[in-house]
């Protein structure tokens, strides 16, 4: 490069003059202008792990919410004759997928023993002969539904609480912060358990109890960010122009809070999924015959020694769900808040 530079002389350049100069638009911005979200999306796309996680989540979403089209059997239909059948895919002869079981060191064809004929179950059946694959899909759907509702409450309540507390300030802020401090010194799970006991176990109780505990983190982060933004010049400018206080909060503050909100939302979701599975696992969540990943793991764990697939598959799906949300959350944090990267 340096040699080339020496070889060029001033004569190699001719200045643009006259009519050509007028035609030249040297103020033109060649690259398309990107909005905040487009720019973040561009950064996110470069993150391979996050894109794989996003892909996995999309597949899980489609499978779970379209479970009606994908389920191979009715998830709640019991069939005692076909109980505890191992996974079987016709035409594949690998131990673990060919319908054989390890019984005291020998591989036994469980389907032949049960006279199952041409029936086959992709991930096997449970102790009541219910199709595990369909039940896992159904459980995933419940997990995702609860995650979505929890994030809605996070937005509706946590964000508003945080903005109000930070924006109004003064005595209101002190009071609202005291309330949060008290909520923080009670373990979340204890609050959830108390609520579920009062409301009797079920979907509504779980959603309410997760909603009541999940907004606190969001409220704190939003408040901290609001306090930081509150004294910046663009807010002052809006004030000087005579904008009303609430209009400033929603028009100028909220867009600047969006990255904090999105990032925190991505971490609320796996927490909500975990708590639903946890509550169902200890037996006060989703009740039978409905399937939840937590109850499936609890059922499968009892037979883990002899029928390991009954716990492995729901446990893997639950873990993959959590891992994917966590990785996507990490990726979104890097994409939306480039300053946080070194």
């Amino acid at each position: 490069m340096a040699d080339n530079a020496k070889q060029t002389s001033a004569d190699d350049f001719t200045p643009i003059a006259g009519a050509d100069r007028a035609k030249l638009d040297d103020e033109k911005i060649a690259t398309p202008s990107l909005t905040f979200l487009q720019d973040s999306w561009r950064r996110l796309r470069k993150n391979k792990a996050a894109m794989i996680a996003l892909g996995l989540l999309i597949i899980l979403f489609i499978l779970a919410f379209g479970s009606h089209f994908f389920e191979t059997h009715n998830p709640n239909a019991t069939n005692p004759n076909f109980a505890n059948l191992p996974p079987k895919i016709p035409g594949i002869d690998i131990n673990g997928l060919n319908g054989t079981l390890d019984q005291s060191g020998e591989r036994v064809n469980a389907y032949a023993q049960a006279h199952a004929g041409n029936n086959w179950y992709l991930l096997g059946t449970d102790y009541l002969g219910r199709d595990l694959f369909s039940r896992i899909l159904y459980g995933t759907r419940i997990s995702l539904e609860i995650a979505l509702i929890a994030s809605f409450f996070d937005l509706a309540f946590g964000v508003v609480y945080g903005i109000t507390s930070g924006w109004i300030g003064g005595r209101v802020d002190t009071l609202m912060q005291r309330i949060i401090e008290i909520m923080l010194s009670i373990p979340n799970l204890v609050v959830m358990v108390l609520l579920i006991l009062v409301l009797k176990p079920g979907m509504t109780a779980i959603i309410l109890s997760i909603a009541i505990t999940s907004w606190i983190n969001m409220a704190r982060l939003v408040r901290a960010q609001t306090l930081e933004l509150k004294n910046q010049e663009f807010i002052l400018a809006a004030r000087t122009l005579g904008e009303s206080s609430w209009k400033i909060a929603f028009k100028h503050l909220l867009p600047n809070l969006s990255s904090v909100i999105i990032i925190n939302l991505m971490f609320t979701i796996p927490t909500a999924i975990f708590f639903e599975a946890f509550l169902s696992y200890i037996g006060i969540g989703i009740s039978a015959p409905q399937a939840s990943l937590g109850t499936l793991i609890n059922d499968g764990q009892k037979n883990f020694q002899f029928l390991p697939y009954q716990m492995w598959y729901p446990a893997i799906v639950l873990s993959v769900l959590m891992i994917a949300f966590n990785i996507l959350g990490d990726g979104l944090r890097d994409a939306l808040d480039p300053k946080s990267r070194e």
């Binding site: 923080l184 010194s185 946890f278 793991i297």
Partner: protein
């Protein structure tokens, strides 16, 4: 300092008062009574049992009796184990929970610090990537899945540790490992971010320019300064351990308060649930207070001045 401490203790007492009030009235709202599932009892018998537990008085009187009891460390009598005071039930089960919880916390935080620090020192290499993978896995895999897998593979298959029950150090190993996973991952993530920050700061550049050797820089300058903020996440980690202990104690049948809590929930043993709720909140308050004080003591930039 004394003033700050006084203020904090006042808030702790206020918190515990609110918690006990809320739990009391929630329990009163509860459908059914502990006698619902009992064999047929005559009205006189039911009245007698109500009188024995003080349930025949109006609610506000029950509330005052209850509050007065709590101040004296009396949480009432368990419904499930007849005539057993809740305070005895809790205090006799607190030991095992504190042991495995404490061990899990120490192991998790120490291992997390190492994983996080190594990840930051070797930032953007395969070492860093594997450290990140470890922490994502341990954050994502639920404690109850991990506990069952540990129990099956290390306990039943390899026979390295007892699979359940309580009695000596070997029995604490598997539950401790199961509980340590989540603090390990959280600490590692936090430590990595902190350390990457510190390593790119000016005083590290200066130390390098002075010609200090790499080990000296990391040990004397980087490590110590990144350790300080880790104290702030001890509180949330304690919550994780409490949550985890409820299932982990159940899986390994350890006679601790977590196992008791789940058992009480499933048997509608209200006095025990109320007592344990207050104990859990009190433990969390104390942990939060200690970490705040320690943070003020070890970081000269933060002074408690209110």
């Amino acid at each position: 300092m004394a003033k700050y401490l006084g203020k904090r203790i006042f808030y702790i007492i206020l918190t515990l008062f609110i918690v006990s009030t809320i739990t009391f009235f929630l329990m009163k709202l509860m459908p059914g009574t502990p006698l619902t599932n009992q064999a047929k009892l005559t009205p006189t018998q039911i009245h007698q049992i109500y009188k024995q537990y003080g349930l025949d008085k109006p609610v506000w009187q029950q509330y005052l009796v209850y509050l007065g009891g709590i101040i004296h460390g009396n949480f009432g009598t368990s419904f499930q184990f007849s005539n057993q005071p809740v305070s005895y039930l809790i205090s006799s089960r607190l030991g095992p929970s504190l042991i495995i919880g404490g061990q899990g916390m120490v192991l998790g935080v120490l291992a997390g610090l190492v994983v996080g620090a190594v990840g930051a020192i070797k930032a953007n290499t395969w070492v860093d990537t594997s450290a990140t993978i470890i922490s994502i896995l341990f954050i994502s895999i639920p404690s109850f899945v991990l506990a069952v897998l540990l129990q099956y593979y290390l306990g039943l298959k390899l026979r390295l540790f007892p699979i359940a029950d309580w009695g000596g150090f070997m029995y604490t190993v598997l539950p401790t490992l199961a509980l340590a996973a989540s603090p390990l991952a959280e600490t590692a993530r936090f430590m990595r971010t902190e350390m990457v920050d510190v390593l790119s700061s000016d005083y590290i550049e200066l130390a390098k320019a002075k010609g200090l050797n790499k080990v000296g820089i990391i040990y004397h300058h980087a490590l110590r300064n990144s350790l300080i903020p880790v104290v702030t996440i001890i509180g949330p980690l304690a919550v994780n351990i409490m949550t985890g202990s409820m299932v982990v104690e159940n899986i390994f049948s350890i006679p601790g308060i977590g196992e008791q809590f789940v058992k009480s929930i499933l048997t509608n043993d209200y006095p025990t649930i109320m007592g344990l709720t207050i104990v859990y909140s009190a433990m969390l308050c104390v942990v939060l207070l200690i970490t705040d004080i320690v943070y003020g003591l070890i970081d000269p930039r933060i002074r408690i001045n209110k």
